[in-house]
Symmetry: C3
Subunit: 346 residues, 3 copies
């Protein structure tokens, strides 16, 4: 169950720097590469001649992809350009694709609906006052389990006890609201001590790390499967989330969750921040820390998926802490139903 | 096809000393741990909140198990004790469990029928005149193939040719009888030379190892899937199985065969002996030897299972040597049919 | 879809020198061994007693195979010779088998039709003026994909660009014809420079390697799944394929493609040559080079198979270059249909 008419992150720009890349996105096996003029292209990863994966081939200087088996040449639009001694010109499926902010985005649904304007706005990516670093995990779980995970940070207390978790998270009741197609879960903690990750961030920002802080987590789900989380701490008594810049450290946890199959995902995670943006060592420290923390979720999500796959009809609970994920699922169900209605009408 | 209303060995006491253990018993995925007061508990390994395995969690000082994902706390009886900011109290399935003789036993069937008195009697485990050591193998075969294996020791001649096998085993015809729910296969060999394993045992018992011996093997199957084998050798001319203690070495091969799935088992093997019980080095020598010998069966049983799974309708032979396993299967079929009748009546 | 009534290569003679070998041929799990008098035998790999694979057993000095579980003894004809304390004499399926030219050949179909005269003629194997060396790969693809591969050497330009590939192959149009049950695809290139593999062969034959050559490739498919390819180069201007021996190097690429399952094969590849046959170092150089080159096909064939398995109804193209494989498939389809008709009549 995925939204089809949406932009998904398929890979980072780096991943197709040197060679074409085969990757399955929302059940579609694609080859991703830079075609004519350096533009990104996404084709089905299936040579129309004898079915070899085009991702095993190579990209010519002119941006055409050459099948590694018999040399059929395809353009970035999925049309065959030349074929050994033949004049037939078969075409394979192409997917709308574009490059933005270091990522390659693909649209698995109706081509005619693929509007670049529908790309998720990423203001931090367009401003020199911000910096970003992240990574990619392959996780064997339904993408909605990852949305649940990110929309309910209560789990930090248990899964990430040694880094960002602290009992106060669990004690602060989250509030969930829906705004259009977005679900937002917020949690505010006052006058607490900062956990290790945030103490390091305070020091990185030249702020005292041993004084009480206010902490916030504002998780925002937007379709098809993005979760952005505003997180931060401010020295207590200066306005919390609204404290002046010199009293707080804050950042945006960026999560692009791209379904591979019904039970696996490409999980692009990262963090954007607006403080000390020139400090490359801090960037790397944060990236490495985030990799370690997010890696702690992988095992539990995969085990949860195995349990749910074994007992698919089992009813789960919906607590207050689960409302963010629940609302996200309701939005997704509505959008998928709308897409199916559109298909029936067409 | 298993008997459900019976005590099975789920794990050794050591296995749950430090952390909860996830293990599938007769098709039921369980978490095993020490709960209130140190008592052993077995719950389904599925957090009622979001389905994460409880075995990834931890046990609190008070014996409650805490889910490693969102911190739901469960008692050893399967009732939720606390949940992040909620007053609902879900319950999950619990299995009767008890600890005895260093093992944790669970009852996968009807709770009301779980009577500790139905535990298999293990007199050697209760007497200071005996000692025991053993180990655990995971084997990918139907548990009945392991029962067949143990009820027909003819295979020692071929599978264990260098340790306990000898041609005389094959030459001595076994006799099988049924006593109530037990099947017993006996084999007696007279005036033979002892094979390497028994020569070492004779030496360990300060007996000559280079004189003719009488040898016996009395295999006893009892439901649901236990096989105890009285084995020993006595210097020839002193009464064989009934020889006085100073003329023989004897022991009990202990086999608890716990089905995991229809084609895999947890195989708890060991040996109990009543001679030189203080000699820890001898205990370890025997344990290591038994590990090596029983390991030789694993490959052949798994290959046999693969062949049978490929040709499930193929008819196998039933020779005289196979009668022990055959009678054990007849007992199991009768008990399973009785359980199913009881379920229909209920 | 395989021809059943045909001789397939099951293994090399070396593979059964020391112990029995378990191998699946055309979906039949067999044990291959040297039985009475050193003759090769092929039985189903299933002990009639309890189903253990006979290939885990051992072969006695008299050529009988002994089951490694309980010691049942089978003759090379599939009849039980002795069994622990029994007089029953079960029989298991045996397959016609013979040894020829260093290979063990088996006939998975009707025994009565198994005529040694139907063995594929291998004149190079019977002549002292030729030498042969080769190897074995296990490849996870339908055997017909490997036939396609070998009947269309256009792929050399792309898959083997650094060894035997060259653009001229693609530029020379192949011609395909059918002769009885054989399909033949030929390709001739004139006045080209020799690629690395052939330059080495020219040097190995004491011929200049830096002069223009004529090159030929004559691929011949014969059922059930053999492809022999006459390949060679001659110094240009001396008659090409018909040049005198001192002006050319030529050899036969030998491919026995034995189906294991519907999507996996045992691929016996090699090369027979009639020049410098005493030069063992050259033999080994060629064998190692061929292993490297043929290994390049494995990845692409397995990836092609995965793509085709995912989209089984997808229609592939049939270009001029594909006619050899296409005609081979037509021959196979006709032979399989004839076999099925014969079965219906019987």
């Amino acid at each position: 169950m995925y939204v089809r008419n949406a932009w998904y992150v398929a890979c980072t720009a780096d991943e197709i720097a040197a060679a074409p890349l085969g990757r399955t996105i929302c059940g579609n096996r694609m080859v991703l590469f830079r075609s004519e003029g350096g533009a990104v292209s996404a084709l089905e990863d299936f040579c129309p001649h004898r079915g070899a994966p085009l991702s095993l081939g190579s990209v010519r200087a002119d941006g055409r992809i050459v099948c590694g088996y018999h040399g059929l040449v395809m353009g970035g639009d999925g049309r065959c350009v030349s074929m050994p001694g033949q004049r037939v010109r078969p075409t394979i499926r192409s997917y709308p694709a574009l490059e933005r902010h270091g990522f390659v985005w693909v649209w698995p649904g109706e081509k005619s609906a693929a509007d670049p304007a529908k790309l998720h706005p990423l203001p931090w990516a367009e401003s020199p006052e911000w910096t970003y670093a992240g990574g990619l995990f392959h996780v064997k779980c339904d993408y909605r389990l990852m949305i649940d995970n990110l929309m309910d940070l209560t789990h930090e207390t248990y899964v990430h006890a040694t880094s960002i978790g602290q009992p106060e998270i669990e004690e602060a009741a989250p509030a969930t609201r829906v705004e259009g197609d977005s679900a937002i879960t917020s949690r505010f903690m006052s006058n607490i001590s900062a956990p290790p990750f945030w103490r390091a961030a305070l020091r990185g920002n030249h702020l005292a790390d041993d004084v009480p802080v206010d902490r916030w987590q504002i998780c925002r789900f937007t379709p098809p499967s993005h979760v952005m989380i505003e997180v931060g701490v401010a020295h207590t008594g200066h306005g919390g989330h609204d404290a002046p810049a010199e009293r707080k450290v804050s950042s945006v946890v960026v999560d692009f969750i791209t379904p591979e199959t019904d039970t696996s995902i490409w999980y692009f995670w990262g963090m954007a921040r607006s403080f000390n943006v020139e400090d490359k060592a801090l960037t790397e420290t944060i990236r490495a820390g985030q990799a370690a923390i997010f890696g702690e979720d992988v095992g539990i999500l995969e085990a949860q998926q195995r349990n749910l796959s074994e007992q698919p009809s089992r009813h789960l609970m919906r607590l207050n802490i689960d409302m963010g994920g629940f609302e996200a699922r309701r939005i997704l169900e509505r959008l998928v139903a709308e897409e199916q209605n559109d298909l029936l009408k067409a």
